[in-house]
Symmetry: C2
Subunit: 95 residues, 2 copies
Amino acid sequence: MKTLKSIIDKKMENREFREAFDEYEKEFQIAQKIIQLRKKSGMTQSELAKKANTSQSAIARLESGEHHNITLAFLHKVCNAMNIIPEIRFKKTGL
Amino acid sequence: MKTLKSIIDKKMENREFREAFDEYEKEFQIAQKIIQLRKKSGMTQSELAKKANTSQSAIARLESGEHHNITLAFLHKVCNAMNIIPEIRFKKTGL
DNA sequence: GATAATTATATCATTCGTGATATGTTAGCC
DNA sequence: GGCTAACATATCACGAATGATATAATTATC
């Protein structure tokens, strides 16, 4: 029986796919976190955009998690508008 | 007497300058960390570049800390080549 | 000091993220 | 239903990061 999991597991054996998937997941997590933080601060996308000197569409794009190539400058800018500081830590992988 | 610190402190009163400075410092920290991790793994810039599918000049640029607009994708790529995962955490500022 | 290895800097083309605007979609409210 | 607010999506110009290459500068080794 071909479950979705079995298909993904098979794909995961491929290094490129695995890395792309992991990266995508991380960006998605960032997107989710941004949404969470924005709602907690009680702002709409437009309000946050204005405070961060950007556009509502840019915020929507960030929160969509589709583009996994955001710049650190942009992330900082958005976070600053929410009184948040994004910190980066470097951890060893399992390998 | 005009010390360097007094001049910087004065500039720090300006919001834009302060944010730019803070951001610059963070990028510089990332750059330093990358250098540290690369040396610990015993690779040259060229070796790391090859492993990360980029160029030696790109690694040098990253490590120089001059460009504070690196993309997360690029950071991930370089880190992956060192078996490192960059994690992002969101912290509240003092305000 | 010469030579080689490593890193820094410069330049250019290309790709891609961002800003901006407009428009589509959805959900809630009257 | 119509209306409004909030969010999603599309498109385009522009600027900036990246890839690539070459070359200068630095460091290490002899």
